[in-house]
């Protein structure tokens, strides 16, 4: 065996594996749905756990043939990364049918097994390097993390320039290059080398042949369904890390996309193109009509209300998308329109290829389009006009950005959204002039959820701004499909209320709340069994003079069968409506379609956690069983139960804690850096790279210290920094929110560096201590760490939904301290 571990190939394969993980998420979000993509990929990562079990069991053989096994694993990863995905996309898994079709469980299982294979191969290769070079664990771990850090930046860049399928090919080629490097690093210089090169070449040919397949999108996704209609075709596609955009033309049957339209509307929408994001979530690009009157249908939706209450001179649109809100404003002759759109590719499409079609709306003299996040936009404009706080908008409009189906089945439960939190609403309100409106439209669901949660969030925001008599500052109307909530810093006056009644009456909309509403006025045109919207509003606003002691509001929020408490920046889960008590009630009503009302996103999260825990138990226990028998013949397999338990707890807790902090910090920094495109690669790579350096430092810079001292310093530092960050990070971010992005990225790196540096230490310190005689346990520890990482990622979301991200960080700190205690007690009893 060579003296030097194959660090370069290891680094490259780690980069490739991390890039593959993110890419699979992207690919499955296109062919399936985001939340199932999340479930499938989370479970596939158990491949890391399986590798621990596999290498534990076969360690003698694998060690003996390391020079063959290691490059072989890399080679097989490269080949399987492509072939497993293309096989997996042919499995007709249909998540909706899982409730009644048992076959779907088998499909899910086969998806999991197929996709875990590439991860199993990579993880086995890394584990094998640990096993064969136990003296250099810190270096190996550092190479692994540094590679992964590079991979997380690389994949975002790749996704900007290539379509996901091409990116898959690039990743596979990356794997083949890693194989070649591995061969150069570890194979003795003899004739086997030419054979190896031949094998890699075969791999290359295989990958090139296999990859030339189109994506097989689920037939139940909107885009696939639309393409079944004759005369439809995709005319343009744009891909970015934010999603795959497809523009669909339909020449025979027009799209006529106009959700929330009044039943009394008689104006057919003009010609449109369908704009699909990840093959679903359809919006439309409307052909700019020759006469503005042809846009009159946009006056027949609930979101047109503010235009009828007063003249709107200066408007801000959040989520400009295909431009229907801009058209609505143009129809109402708004003088100045600012529009914010997160996805730069949408802006690109509407200012280039489809500029003429859409009437160049994004380039009109009175339209200013801003590419990025709304909170960044408002913070920036706040800095520009510090004295006036930029409070000049007559209207801030938040469009319906999610499709009804995904929204109604609760599929967004896992998605954090900093758009609809109390803090966000406060920010919007601050940017309105004294008589300006914040207008938020949501889908009407039966039973109502979004509109009520939005109302509760708005009330909280007004309370925080110390506004009195909140009930006078809110109006709520609804049609059969959408609701619109208007919030104002000053009370609504009688003229506005008169106009509101007229607007609703002529369009067949119901009023759910306005200052002075009578119970009999609600629920008249579009009837629910009871006046749910009005009842909710009157409970939430019942004692608005004294909101903190508002008992009916408290009782309502507590008793309502969906979770409608306001969302906050610490718990940014606006789309989370799940309540356990409701779940059991709906479960008992499954034969009458009760399960339809269950918020599936949350259930998916739970099922993923349960499956991850169940699989982990098997994966962790299996090697122990074998060790037990082998200990009879081989002394290095024997280890007292108590010591095994300590070993397990240490590596399990380290795995949990690392990911908990990483995920929580990622959330905090997404809010700070505003744009996930910046935040994810910056935070992820910073964590990996600095943790890698920390790991390397355990043998370099800090080698003079004893392992115990080093661990003590590392964990106490993590605890100190973690607690400080959880307490002060939000306030710090609020102060420096308006800084330019490059400075913010620099600050983020500076903040992450010390924390990550120390977080990179506990794993290699303990793994290195599995010295002679206990090296057999290295793969086991590796596997435990792998399982813990999978559980941790799901657990982080679950904890954050219920208790907020601050608690996620504190949990991780406690786990780290446990690890320290285990290590110290262990050292005293001279265990590990």
């Amino acid at each position: 065996m060579q003296l030097k571990p194959p660090l370069l190939s290891l680094s490259l394969i780690s980069a490739t594996a991390l890039a593959y993980e993110i890419l699979l998420m992207r690919l499955f979000s296109i062919i399936q749905w985001h939340h199932f993509a999340y479930m499938i990929i989370s479970l596939a990562l158990l491949g890391y756990g399986i590798s621990g079990t596999l290498v534990s069991l076969l360690q003698d053989t694998l060690k003996r043939y390391f020079h063959i096994a290691y490059p072989l694993f890399l080679f097989l990863f490269s080949v399987s990364s492509v072939s497993c995905f293309f096989t997996a996309q042919n499995i007709p898994f249909n998540p909706e049918a899982i409730l009644w079709d048992t076959q779907q469980v088998w499909y899910l299982l086969s998806l999991f097994l197929l996709l875990s294979l590439p991860f199993l191969l990579v993880a086995s290769a890394i584990c094998l390097v640990f096993l064969c070079y136990p003296e250099q664990i810190a270096k190996i771990y550092a190479a692994d993390l540094l590679g992964a850090g590079g991979g997380s930046i690389g994949i975002i860049i790749l996704l900007f320039y290539f379509f996901p399928v091409t990116t898959l090919l690039v990743i596979s080629l990356g794997g083949l290059i890693a194989t070649l490097i591995a061969l150069l690093e570890i194979t003795p210089k003899d004739k086997t080398k030419s054979v190896s090169f031949f094998i890699v070449l075969t791999g290359l040919i295989f990958v090139l042949t296999v990859q030339n397949q189109p994506l097989k999108i689920s037939p139940y996704k909107d885009e696939a369904k639309v393409l079944n209609i004759s005369g439809t075709r995709i005319i343009e596609q744009q891909s970015s890390p934010l999603g795959l955009l497809s523009i669909v033309e339909s020449v025979l049957v027009p799209f006529r996309h106009a959700p929330g339209l009044s039943l009394y509307n008689s104006q057919e929408p003009p010609e449109q193109l369908g704009l699909f994001s990840d093959a679903s979530n359809m919006t439309a690009i409307t052909r700019f009509p020759d006469k503005l009157e042809k846009l009159s249908y946009l006056d027949q939706v609930t979101s047109a209300l503010p235009y009828h209450l007063k003249n709107i001179h200066h408007l801000l649109i959040i989520g400009a998308g295909g431009g229907s809100d801009i058209l609505q404003a143009m129809f109402h002759k708004t003088e100045q329109i600012d529009a914010v759109e997160l996805n730069p590719k949408i802006i690109e499409l509407l200012t280039n290829q489809f500029a003429q079609y859409s009437g160049n709306i994004y380039s009109h003299d009175n339209v200013h389009i801003y590419s990025g996040d709304i909170r960044a936009f408002l913070s920036r404009s706040k800095m520009k006009k510090k004295d006036k706080l930029n409070s000049h908008y007559d209207l801030i409009q938040i469009s319906l950005m999610d499709s009804f189906n995904a929204s109604a089945s609760g599929l967004y439960a896992l998605n954090e959204s900093y758009l609809y939190t109390t803090e966000a609403l406060q920010l919007y309100l601050q940017h309105l002039n004294q008589n300006g409106y914040l207008a938020i439209s949501r889908w009407v669901k039966t039973p109502p959820r979004d509109a009520i949660k939005m109302l509760a969030t708005a009330v909280q925001a007004l309370e925080n701004l110390a506004i009195k008599d909140i009930a006078d500052h809110i109006v709520l109307i609804r049609g059969w499909q959408t609701s619109t909530l208007l919030v104002k810093k000053s009370p609504f006056n009688s003229l506005e209320i008169k106009q509101l009644k007229h607007f609703s009456q002529t369009r067949g909309f119901d009023v759910a709340w306005y200052p002075g509403i009578k119970a009999g006025e609600a629920n008249q045109v579009n009837r629910f069994r009871e006046a749910y919207f009005y009842q909710a509003a009157s409970a939430i606003l019942s004692d608005s003079k004294n909101p903190s002691s508002n008992l009916p509001k408290k009782q309502f929020l507590h008793n309502y069968k969906y979770y409608v408490y306001p969302a906050s920046d610490d718990k940014p889960f606006f789309h989370h409506f799940f309540k356990w008590s409701t779940f059991s009630e709906l479960l008992s009503l499954r034969n009458q379609g009760g399960l339809v009302l269950v918020e599936m996103g949350y259930v998916v999260l739970l099922v993923t956690l349960a499956l991850a825990i169940f699989s982990s138990i098997i994966l962790v226990m299996l090697p122990l069983l074998v060790f037990h028998f082998r200990a009879k013949t081989k002394v290095e397999f024997s280890l007292p139960v108590k010591k095994r338990l300590k070993l397990f707890l240490y590596f399990f807790f380290i795995g949990l804690a690392f990911l908990l902090i990483e995920i929580a910090m990622m959330q905090k920094f997404i809010l700070f850096l505003h744009h996930p495109i910046y935040a994810i690669p910056v935070v992820l790579s910073a964590f990996m790279i600095f943790a890698g350096l920390g790991s390397a430092g355990t043998t370099g810079l800090f080698s003079r210290l004893s392992q115990r001292q080093l661990l003590l310093i590392a964990i106490l530092s993590i605890a100190f920094i973690g607690i400080c960050y959880s307490m002060f990070l939000s306030s710090l971010f609020a102060v420096i929110a308006a800084y330019p992005i490059y400075l913010k990225i620099l600050i983020s790196l500076t903040l992450i560096a010390p924390l990550a540096l120390f977080m990179g230490m506990p794993f290699p310190i303990a793994l290195s201590r599995l010295g002679p005689g206990k090296r057999t346990y290295i793969p086991w520890a590796w596997g435990i760490n792998g399982c813990a990482s999978v559980i941790s990622a799901v657990l982080a979301s679950l904890l954050a939904i219920h208790f907020g991200f601050t608690l996620v960080i504190l949990t991780a700190v406690v786990l780290y301290i446990f690890c320290l205690l285990i290590f110290i007690s262990d050292e005293e009893s001279k265990v590990v």
């Binding site: 369904k225 209609i229 106009a258 067949g508 579009n526 009837r527 069968k561």
Partner: protein, 256 residues
């Protein structure tokens, strides 16, 4: 002698094949009728399930039980003829099923409720937007005078038309195309059922609904129905809509 033997041989072989063919014919007939009987039993069982579910949901549907005519119609229509061959065994389960092209055949319980909510009579003319498999139209055709059905996906529309012809549903007329403008030549309608996904309700459909007529629209995912929208056109032309939840579930607990 030889010729005799040959003749005998030919005769006996012919007899053998004849009796084999006869036997096969008889057994296939018996099998078919026993299959039909089996499906009928399954259908009866399905009706029981629907009745039970409706009874439990009754207070929310504002009806104690479904119209017996609706149940009879569902008991008559051979649902197994409207599903794809690979799902035929599940035809009478109270589930939705895929029919290809990303489309589905609704859960029988939902079909029953939607049909019942339209309050149909024997002389009615009904328009359906979204033929799909044709099952809903077949159920309607048992209850009303005429059913007009429009399907946008050509292969589905063609299959459904073939099915109607084979099964003898002569009072159903279909066409393939855009349902946005309804079916002006056959308007007005006593009831309209819109099973095709649409971002809004086209004005033409409201126009083609008779005063006093009802329109029903299921809203939900691909397989599941989250809510039913029932639109009633008042005699004065005003529209009133109802959001109906096909589940016995109240979001408010009444404690406030």
């Amino acid at each position: 002698m030889k010729a005799m033997t040959l003749q005998k041989w030919i005769l006996s072989i012919s007899l053998f094949f004849l009796s084999l063919a006869f036997g096969l014919f008889i057994s296939s007939q018996t099998l078919a009728s026993s299959m039909e009987e089996r499906y009928m039993k399954k259908r009866q069982h399905m009706i029981q399930l629907i009745e039970q579910d409706v009874h439990q949901t009754s207070q929310y549907l504002d009806t104690e039980a479904l119209d017996t005519k609706v149940l009879k119609a569902i008991a008559t229509v051979p649902r197994h003829k409207f599903v794809t061959p690979d799902t035929i065994e599940q035809a009478y389960h109270n589930n939705p099923l895929p029919i290809g092209y990303g489309q589905t055949i609704s859960q029988p319980y939902i079909v029953a409720i939607m049909t019942d909510l339209l309050k149909l009579t024997a002389n009615d003319t009904v328009l359906e937007i979204g033929t799909g498999s044709g099952y809903q139209a077949a159920v309607l055709s048992e209850l009303v005078h005429r059913v007009y059905s429009i399907e946008i996906i050509a292969p589905l529309g063609e299959q459904a038309e073939l099915r109607f012809r084979e099964l003898g549903y002569t009072n159903i007329t279909t066409k393939i195309g855009d349902g946005y403008y309804g079916w002006q030549e056959q308007a007005p309608f006593d009831a309209i059922i819109v099973t095709a996904a649409a971002s809004h309700i086209p004005h033409a459909l409201i126009e083609q609904l008779k005063p006093g007529g009802k329109m029903i629209i299921p809203v939900g995912g691909n397989f599941t129905t989250q809510q039913l929208l029932l639109i009633t056109k008042q005699p004065d032309g005003q529209l009133q809509t109802q959001q109906i939840l096909p589940v016995r579930f109240v979001p408010l607990t009444g404690e406030h």
